[in-house]
């Protein structure tokens, strides 16, 4: 594979058409609306995610990228510490499992892109650190970012952009609305996204991943997991 794939990789990982299972996820928006979140507050919901769970996940993706790119001298990459740190910062089991499902789709892509790349070969180290839980989405995102040669900023932005667009795309399936309005929401949030990109890109080691929690999102996600009538996984 060509080595000059960083910029394209950043676009690929942010593209909703990437066939890795994201279309069946709503970033907990379905449950939020079900619990009574008014639809006019969807932009606030995105903003809240960017400041909390989005920032934690973006930081984890950056730390995974660094683990892949700069392993201990003479050693293979080890995603165990970042996987453990992120799992510990994701209190909702439903959200851990949703993230692992998304990670599984990304891992299938990573193996198809370059199964022999050290960053891909090391993916089993993530699950080994958290038995029963596959590699979480940000961990695999970081691994893919390493394969593509992306920067920390590109990796963080891909994670945050994808989180926000997951909400906007799901919003159009869940409530009436003009698709162009959803684009506006995203553009209006770009200062928040860049702020979170800078914070995430400055994260070096698992210990520094912020433990931003959003208890309402956790509660909604747990309730959603017990629903029988769902459009979205989570």
């Amino acid at each position: 594979m060509s080595t000059d794939t960083g910029a394209l990789g950043a676009l690929l990982l942010a593209d909703a058409r990437l066939p890795t299972g994201g279309h069946a996820h709503s970033a907990t928006l379905e449950a939020a609306l079900e619990a009574g979140l008014p639809e006019e507050r969807i932009p606030d919901y995105i903003r809240a995610r960017l400041a909390t769970v989005g920032r934690t996940e973006a930081a984890a993706a950056v730390v995974a990228l660094r683990a892949a790119r700069d392993p201990e001298p003479g050693a293979e990459p080890d995603y165990g510490p970042v996987q453990e740190a992120l799992a510990a910062r994701t209190p909702s089991r439903a959200l851990r499992e949703a993230s692992a499902t998304l990670g599984r789709g990304l891992a299938r892509l990573a193996r198809r892109v370059d199964a022999d790349h050290p960053a891909v070969r090391a993916l089993p180290t993530a699950q080994a650190a958290t038995p029963g839980l596959r590699a979480l989405r940000p961990v695999v995102l970081g691994a893919l970012a390493a394969v593509f040669g992306m920067t920390a900023e590109q990796t963080a932005r891909a994670a945050l952009y994808e989180d926000a667009q997951t909400v906007t795309a799901a919003a159009l399936k869940l409530r009436p609305g003009d698709p162009l309005t959803a684009v506006r929401w995203l553009l209006d949030l770009s200062p928040r996204i860049e702020e979170s990109v800078r914070a995430a890109a400055a994260t070096d080691v698992p210990h520094d991943i912020p433990a931003h929690s959003a208890p309402l999102i956790d509660r909604w996600a747990e309730a959603h997991a017990r629903e029988t009538r769902r459009l979205f996984v989570a």
Binding site: G21, S26, R104, R108, R229
Partner: protein, 269 residues
């Protein structure tokens, strides 16, 4: 109650699924060496896909190790129907969320279904047959060969006798076309023989089966077809085909001369 209204050609043979060599990237199909046959069932809403799957489970689960993955607009309606039919142990029937895009989940992004199929094959190994039921969609929705090895497209007489003439990838090039609920034909004014003949013209000799769950010979023909595909899959004689996302030669109702419908362009798109 009703006689078998199907035409004599209804003795379907899996050999008829052998079609031109696929140009698909070999890596895009995952059947190499796998014991389990992954069989998709697609077709418009309400044509009897769940009922067809319940029939297959009822008839074949005694001789084959089976599991079912369902897709629905609202998650688990079909899974609950199948569980309540009692045709398979409940844990062998799993529902997959499709984010309101059942079409996407079987073709453009098969991740959720592939995860479920792989999980089933691991949890209940060794399986002979995994059925994947598409959430009912329109005439253009067909399975990617990266997800399934063979597919059934399901129409019904109640949808109108002219549907088979409309063509499309599923009607034209699925491995088997079912014209379901043939017992209802007299009540909806449809001539099943004509509908089957229309479908056969659109399919270049690929098999068509008029089916009613109350018509034993037709159920037996369906089961024999499935057994034949499993055998061909195991011997390596069966190659997954992509019916294609498009109907290559669909010229609308005025072009009804019995030619030009889907002449084997189901590759290379």
């Amino acid at each position: 109650m009703p006689e078998n209204t199907a035409s004599p050609e209804n003795t379907v043979s899996p050999d008829a699924t052998a079609s031109p060599k696929s140009t698909a990237d070999a890596a895009a199909t995952a059947s190499g060496g796998r014991r389990t046959l992954r069989l998709g069932v697609a077709g418009p809403v309400g044509t009897g896909k769940s009922s067809l799957i319940a029939t297959l489970c009822r008839e074949l689960s005694g001789e084959l190790a089976m599991a079912v993955v369902t897709n629905d607009i609202y998650t688990d309606e079909d899974a609950r129907f199948l569980r309540s039919a009692g045709v398979l142990p409940g844990e062998r029937i799993r529902a997959v969320e499709t984010g309101a895009c059942p079409h996407t989940a079987i073709r453009d992004d098969i991740t959720a279904n592939l995860d479920a199929v792989e999980d089933m094959e691991e949890d209940f190994a060794p399986l002979d047959l995994v059925l994947v039921e598409s959430g009912g969609d329109n005439l253009t929705a067909t399975f990617s060969p990266a997800l399934i090895d063979a597919q059934i497209f399901c129409l019904d007489v109640a949808g109108g006798g002219d549907v088979a003439r409309k063509g499309g990838p599923g009607i034209g090039r699925a491995d088997l076309l079912i014209v379901n609920k043939s017992d209802l034909a007299p009540y909806v004014g449809v001539d099943v023989e004509r509908m089957v003949a229309d479908a056969e013209r659109a399919r270049d000799g690929r098999p068509v089966l008029a089916l009613s769950r109350t018509d034993e010979p037709s159920v037996k023909a369906l089961c024999d077809w499935v057994r034949g595909v499993i055998e061909a899959h195991r011997s390596g004689a069966h190659t997954p085909q992509d019916p294609g996302p498009m109907a290559p030669h669909s010229h609308g109702p005025e072009d009804d001369g019995g030619h030009g419908h889907g002449h084997g362009h189901g590759h290379g798109h």
